[in-house]
Amino acid sequence: MASRRPDHPATAQIRLDLNGEQTTVAFAPHKTLLEVLREDLGLTGTKHGCELGECGTCTVLLDGRPVLSCLVLGVACDGAEVRTVEGMADGPRLHPLQETFADLGAAQCGYCTPGFLLASKALLAANARPSRDEIKEALAGNLCRCTGYLKIYEAVELAAAKMRGDEAEPSEETLYGRP
């Protein structure tokens, strides 16, 4: 694979703050962050979709901001802070977004879910009370083929309310559909 020319080192090594843990990992320099996470670090929660920047399922938080890990080189992340879906729960306690996605049926096949969770997490960190339009805008880079998006938006709204400490319950219509 990697050639032996002196400027072609077969491996690159980086240090990461990965979900709060200092991690060192070595890999070939042409690997994407997505591949490093899945193949070299065994974190397969981050999904591999289009690899072209179009679907958003590979979204992770890099230094707090949502990025597409299929278009980030692993070598470019030395010293960075990376958050993946594996880092969302607090031990056995799910993140409020994970809870509401499960409760409201915002995940069906689930392939898009990790990306939506992280993009939503970044949104709520910046904006505790996003409007429906702001949620749509923040999630515009994430595709879902199953849910039709409505339940995803509602799950983000409900999680936002819970995180603010507001009394909030999903509406009957969200849970059971229109009468």
Partner: protein, 325 residues
């Protein structure tokens, strides 16, 4: 999987320029365009030279002359959210906010946005087309619904950038560092039509790095805007777009620029539209005549004839809106 390459993170501009001198060396900024091209084997790289560690290429500052200097590594999201840009150059803020998706705006840089490669699906696909050194433009006889209606010859790409047309409308230039030193290139002269060189989109030579985009101080009475029409609501490249930067005095357009995106292989300045509006109030009939003039020399391909009425409508509407702003 990406093909293999060496990776160097340059620590100084001099080092970057030196490393880039070799054939097969490519600049890596945000990588959102570059990595897709490498993965799809659009072109090859022996070595990626990352410019992301270079000091002084990040951020937005206003110089003493009132001009805005945007470092090439400033992300598209930072441009979109910058208070000075929003206040003084609303057209640029609007354009940046409509680039790609939120994630890609966090990753993509303004330098990369200006230097990104075309999105023609033959160029990006497994076709050895003219722009890749082949002998045929497959779009001419093929699926050309997203191709150009102005400025095409032998190759019919559209330039994909949303920020380039607004920066061009605002009279911006780029500062470039390269093996022969530094130079400033007006965006009027930065982009290259296929008739001039079919294998590249800009005048940059091997080893040259865009370090800043410089936007002149907006004179009094300047209004700017960007309008983009796309096939999908979530994100997409422009089907048709228009960037305006017009100076008004007592309700009349004194001077200014009308630049189209999604129309031509380069951000396309429509002098035809400009000559209709200069000296006039943007009354409905003036807007209409300017829009028709902008399309007078359009030569649609087999499947993109819809762009002519689309552009006509978009230009007419947007001129009217800016006139009332």
């Amino acid at each position: 999987m990406l093909p293999t390459f060496a990776y160097i993170r340059a620590q100084s501009l001099d080092e970057a320029v030196r490393q880039l001198a070799a054939d097969g060396a490519r600049i890596h900024a945000g990588g959102t365009d570059l990595l897709g091209c490498l993965r799809d084997r659009v072109f090859h790289a022996d070595k990626l030279v990352s410019i992301t560690a270079l000091p002084g290429l990040r951020g937005i500052a206003t110089g003493r002359d009132g001009a805005l200097r945007i470092g090439a590594l400033t992300t598209v999201a930072e441009v979109a959210g910058n208070p000075t840009v929003r206040e003084r150059y609303p057209g640029l803020a609007q354009a940046a906010s409509e680039v790609a998706s939120p994630q890609l705006r966090n990753q993509g840089t303004i330098g990369g946005n200006l230097c990104q490669r075309p999105r023609c699906w033959y160029f990006r696909g497994e076709f050895h087309c003219l722009r890749k050194g082949g002998t045929t433009c497959y779009a001419l006889a093929g699926e050309n619904q997203y191709h150009c209606i102005l400025g095409g010859s032998r190759c019919y790409i559209v330039h994909p950038s949303d920020t380039a047309p607004t920066l061009l409308a605002l009279g911006a230039s780029v500062e470039v560092a390269g093996p022969k030193g530094r130079r400033t290139v007006s965006l009027d002269e930065f982009y290259v039509l296929p008739s001039a060189d079919i294998q590249r989109e800009t005048v940059l030579a091997q080893g040259e790095v865009v370090t800043h985009a410089v936007v002149p101080r907006p004179g009094t009475g300047i209004r700017s805007s960007y309008r983009k029409v796309r096939a999908r609501g979530s994100w997409d490249f422009a089907l048709a777009g228009v960037a305006l930067a017009l100076r008004f005095d007592a309700g009349r357009v004194v001077d200014g620029r009308v630049v189209l995106s999604g129309a031509a292989p380069v951000p396309w300045r429509s002098r035809e539209a400009e000559s209709v509006i200069v000296g006039s109030r943007l009354e409905p009939d003036v807007c209409r005549r300017a829009a028709v003039a902008a399309m007078a020399s359009a030569v649609p391909l087999k499947r993109n004839g819809y762009k002519v009425p689309l552009f006509t409508g978009v230009i007419e509407e947007e001129l009217g809106k800016l006139g009332r702003a």
